[in-house]
């Protein structure tokens, strides 16, 4: 399967950039891709996950048979609207900086009474991750078109930002890679995928502001944690633990850099 996949990719590279193609042809390809992306926006299957997430938010679950309707995502108990645009942030009750996914784990533990370790340990494609992915999608949709407002002020938020920035530029692994290798300059791409420059506001918003996203390639709903995990895999870094401090720190760095721009969640991508 893999081989065929690469074969197709190679064919496209040849098609798009191969021998003596004019600038005009490349422009046409780019226009075609834009038209394709536009057409996808017409109906984003992420909506199906949003609907599931909304139902889960209100449904009594777990040993406590509680609901998440009292869950405080940082803008008050049970308030969902605009919450994602202000995350990650410091929470006094856990004394931690939390992103949406780690905060949802806290609430699932508190109100459903479940052991969240299996959720943390499960693969992203495993059934144990389904609920948190749907919930994340639902909450993100309630911040669509909301301006990102993540400005680290609490000492732990500032520390997370600094750690995230260091993580972003930290170079290592068998391929001597860092996040910055792909995401610190304008106009870079892999095949036809544009790589946003996360070190500046607009670029960071293109990345941060469009996850979670429905990925048409496998028909999967990817959260920001999943996106980061896969970047680590692509960089040949050790796989980060779900909602670990390092991943949240990276999110703080991206969200703070994107502050002032607008959330486009949930997104849809190739």
């Amino acid at each position: 399967m893999k081989r065929r996949w690469y074969g197709a990719a190679a064919a496209v590279l040849a098609l798009a950039f191969g021998g003596g193609l004019t600038a005009q042809t490349q422009e046409e390809t780019q226009r075609g891709i834009e038209a394709y992306r536009q057409a996808l926006q017409q109906g984003n299957p992420a909506e199906l996950f949003e609907a599931q997430g909304e139902e889960l938010w209100k449904k009594p679950m777990g040993p406590r048979n509680g609901t998440l309707e009292q869950c405080d995502l940082g803008v008050g108990p049970g308030k969902v609207a605009g919450a994602y645009a202000r995350l990650p942030r410091y929470f006094a009750d856990t004394d931690k900086v939390q992103d949406l996914e780690s905060r949802l784990l806290t609430c699932m533990e508190r109100y459903w009474g479940i052991d969240v370790q299996p959720v943390i340990d499960a693969a992203y494609t495993a059934p144990a991750k389904r609920e948190i992915i749907a919930l994340t999608t639902y909450v993100s949709g309630e911040s669509k078109d909301v301006v990102v407002d993540v400005r680290p002020t609490h000492p732990k938020e500032r520390a997370a930002f600094e750690l995230g920035k260091r993580m972003f530029f930290f170079q290592g692994g068998s391929h001597d890679f860092s996040c910055a290798t792909c995401h610190s300059e304008d106009g870079k791409r892999i095949r036809l995928q544009d790589l946003p420059n996360i070190t500046e506001r607009k670029g960071s918003a293109l990345g941060w502001g469009s996850w979670p996203a429905y990925r048409v390639s496998a028909g999967q709903m990817w959260t920001m944690q999943w996106r980061i995990q896969d970047c680590f895999r692509q960089m040949r870094f050790p796989e980060p633990i779900y909602t670990s401090e390092a991943t949240i720190a990276l999110s703080v760095y991206m969200a703070a850099t994107a502050s002032g721009e607008t959330m486009r969640t949930p997104g849809i991508k190739r």
């Binding site: 197709a8 075609g32 992306r37 536009q38 017409q42 036809l192 390639s217």
Partner: protein, 154 residues
């Protein structure tokens, strides 16, 4: 599932696919009436058209495939078919280079506009063939869509 697959192949050859599927309980009875097994099993355009009972399609400028010229991922290719031919009653959508040509057939009852959109898988760059039936005549239009990544793999 292997057994089922083998059974399926055998009965397709002998032409009794639907009966065998029904016997095996694989198809609901109400779907039996509508779903055209033979057409969806078609491995080339003429066979598929024949199974759909659509003979001698003639190219028409009043039938249009609306889509981007290039699809970033073959797993999801948005396609819209619009017919401006009066009394269009049926629209079929085929992909020449898919393992089975036929992707979808739409019946257009009175009141419905002959204008439908869906998203399909394309294994590779291929011609898309749309066919419309209007007043007993069969019309067709073809358009190539380039696929940068195939959409039928795992």
């Amino acid at each position: 599932m292997k057994t089922v697959d083998n059974t399926r192949r055998r009965v397709v050859q002998t032409g009794g696919a639907l009966a065998a599927f029904a016997a095996a309980g694989l198809l609901p009875t109400d779907a039996l009436a509508a779903w055209n097994q033979a057409a969806f099993e078609g491995k080339n355009i003429p066979d598929t058209l024949k199974a759909l009972n659509l003979d001698n399609p003639t190219p028409s400028g009043d039938l249009q495939i609306v889509a981007s010229d290039i699809a970033e991922n073959g797993a999801v290719v948005p396609i819209q078919i619009v017919s401006r031919i009066p009394n269009t009653t049926r629209i079929a959508l085929m992909v020449e280079k898919n393992p089975n040509m036929l992707a979808a057939v739409f019946d257009v009852p009175e009141g419905m506009l002959p204008d439908v959109a869906t998203r399909i898988r394309m294994q590779q760059t291929s011609n898309i063939v749309a066919v419309a039936v209007a007043g007993g005549k069969v019309h067709t239009v073809t358009r190539e869509i380039k696929v940068t990544l195939g959409g039928c793999g795992g």
